[in-house]
Subunit: 277 residues, 4 copies
């Protein structure tokens, strides 16, 4: 459906991962290789952290491949933590408020996947939110609602718990409404300190998710002719991606089915992800 | 806030009212005279009826004044009933799904006004909807929610009743949340057979609403040099507008405070509008 | 690069060819089968004729596949002659003025192809225009310039001649600047009375062009479940397309290399196309 | 017509001048006070310098007042030199390539004004360019053409000279074509080292141009409640603007009619501007 990447490490120009890799995210916008759709042209977005209290965002409705603004932004902004997303819509409108990432305070979230038969349970999911979070609904995607639900369930204090309770609610309501496999998701989340990611689906056939093995793995994304770019990468640089940014399989660890992943200071931790029933 | 117009009569090129009048709707997009804002540049939309089962719509996020597509559409489409709207946003995003009109089946609605402190009661209003109507929420405006609530309250069978119950709910929830004057609205509604309009505000200081007095009144909107256009107007042509499309005061009837208006076959009926408490 | 279609016949809802065929133009926007690119997502446009003096146009920068306005327009507008185009940019900006068709008075033109090394000769081509036509340059594509050059060379009085002189100039200036095969084009042109098309390339490896064989051929584009739509097609209905709108090869005639095609009143004439050296 | 501002000094968040002043540029997009039009809603752009070889740009077609991307960009990007512009179109299309600034290598240019009867001389002006600069024409404005002409006339080595020859050519061709007062302009130019500005019109009734008197003048733009922001401004901070960003007349020097202005390292120099006849 969609493709995304998240980065944590030393300050890096956004362009290094969004444009300058072998199979960059922008290239994936018109030619994703292991996605269910080859075109991810229904908008995009990027969020990044700096010295400000809240992350910056740039979100658009046009395809990523034809936006000179995105090129300039990625060349001129460096950040120690950023998340980018290209969208292939699954039924909801093409509007900036439906482009990822979604932002709440210091939190950003991107999503590849969908809630099956979302329309059946959209209202009940939304009704779970209190008025304070409901007023932050700006778009109409399942993804944004999943984000606000995770916040509702305490993600700011307990990332795993908030997400597990959100996923549990989606599965409960989905099954009650007759959907066998309600949830299919790979999530990328950031708070400016750590990256988090989840690979999970009710059917246990989740979409792909990878993380880079080491600085050298991230650096290896760079085509040979630009190898001097190696110096741009810090020792603790880690990328988490829907689809490898290069054909170098040794450089990427596939994240197992039903896994919760945390990246802090260059360290990658994994634990099983189990929704709270 | 916004400006709108509705037309009922013989088939008329949309351009005759949207562009070719003395103070056309497009002119009002950058220079509204009796509006609270002179610029209505946050998107626009037009909906029209023809032989198809459902009305057509064209909605955009750019200002109406600089859209060549709108010019072409209005020149090349004729319709016996149409509604057009230019938006001045009151806090929600500039996206097509927030541009008016809103459509449900054969129904179209445009709105000038706002629910005061909408964020306080947005969730409770939305939760009044059942899952079937909730899934039709495409945007985030108070206007769209008012439309779906009126449908929820039976507008399709009883236009007055559906709107009166919707307005009553907004006032009840608004006052409960501490807002003295919750509702300010002029609504324009069409179903392909009749036009309906409401001028109402909790404060009894509603925004302006006018209807043309007769064919000759509508025709008088046309600048003298184009007076041969008179023949374009049928005897039963009626326009309902937020703001007169000409400086000819004799041509326009101001709709009184708290009024519900119906236009069918050239006949204009008015009755008091009282929300259902 | 791009894909286009042109229609001539009895008044037909635009949606019948743009959306409702087996491989519709909108489907080709994300999945063109015999194009050099599978994604044609860099904007689109449609122009149509009616009782007005000049044709109407709707042009956008977003991909055709995600534009609800286009869907509504195509459902609600019928025309006896229309041209539609989906763009895959070859280096120039994504802006409405670079979307096809281009319009001049009653004339419309769409183009699939390119002038190789256009940048080398752009100025010299443009300088061929007089001030009167130069002031109509709204965009930056080779296609628009080819259109204005054909007008400069008399296309309004002699379609073949104007195009042959334009192609000759492009080849002359291109070769002079060192380009072996300067021109690659399939052109679609309309004036409200006739359709014209050219398949030509300097290399004699032109992109595909087809026309429907008969009313029954056009009608056969319609999936079986919609076969009652047959009645929508007049006996003189003809479609000219970059890529067949169906898998029914018997229904389509491939236009030969280096051919000029005229469609008037259901009759298709072909003659060799030879640029004026 | 348009409004613009240019800044030179210590690195400053773009938001400080574009959003946070008493009459900010964004406020001027819907309410310019001394402009010939109150609405400058036909797109905008900003260009900024940093450690990269070329300046970054962000250009859009929507009004500046409703773009959350611009807000985020301005909050998160700091720069020692930047130029921003809000557009009120004078007849050419609303497309990014017609939004200012225009960029060529390290050079940026913004323009408020117009070439009267531009259509009459557009071709002859364009023809003056060689193929190398002609291929950089991305839009259709007089402003972009003035920029490329100044480059053609040597602006990169002699800013004053390049501009004076450009202005001379415009006046010569304009008068030859029968236009009494061909040129009306205030230009803002940057190369990353210095800012340049010109106030000039053939009629000697040029649009306004101002520069701040001192750091304290720039700082005085900041509303009292944000006065701690004073520290954000360096001692050599200078702003050049179409319209004062505050009601504090003592803080602004009006640039005289027919003046060329240079800002380098906090020093403002002025000299008469005389086109080369």
């Amino acid at each position: 459906m969609c493709r995304w990447l998240a980065y944590s490490g030393g300050p890096l120009p956004l362009s290094e991962l969004i444009y300058n890799t072998q199979h960059s995210l922008v290239e994936q916008s018109f030619d994703a290789r292991i996605s269910t759709q080859t075109t991810n042209g229904d908008g995009f977005g990027v969020g990044w952290y700096d010295h400000r209290e809240f992350p910056g965002m740039y979100k658009e409705t046009r395809p990523a491949w034809n936006d000179p603004n995105l090129e300039d932004l990625c060349l001129h902004v460096s950040s120690p933590m950023f998340i980018a997303h290209i969208r292939a819509a699954t039924g909801t409108s093409i509007q900036r408020s439906n482009s990822h990432p979604f932002r709440y305070g210091r939190w950003l979230l991107v999503h590849n996947g969908l809630i099956n038969n979302f329309a059946y349970i959209r209202r009940d999911l939304a009704m779970t939110l209190g008025a304070d979070l409901y007023m932050h609904l700006n778009g109409t995607t399942d993804s944004e609602l999943m984000f606000l639900l995770a916040l509702h369930f305490g993600m700011q204090d307990d990332v795993y718990g908030g997400l597990a309770r959100m996923a549990g609610l989606v599965e409960r309501l989905g099954r009650k409404s007759g959907t066998e496999h309600p949830l299919q998701m790979t999530l990328g989340i950031a708070d400016g300190e750590s990256l988090y990611a989840v690979r999970y689906s009710s059917e246990h056939k989740s979409r792909t998710l990878f993380h880079s093995k080491s600085k050298h793995a991230v650096a290896a994304l760079i085509p040979p002719e630009y190898r001097e770019r190696l110096d741009l990468f810090s020792d603790d640089a880690v990328a988490v991606v829907s689809e490898p940014l290069s054909d170098l399989p040794d450089m990427w660890d596939a994240v197992p089915e039903a896994t919760f992943l945390t990246v802090t200071g260059g360290e990658v931790e994994q634990r099983p992800f189990v929704p709270v029933a």
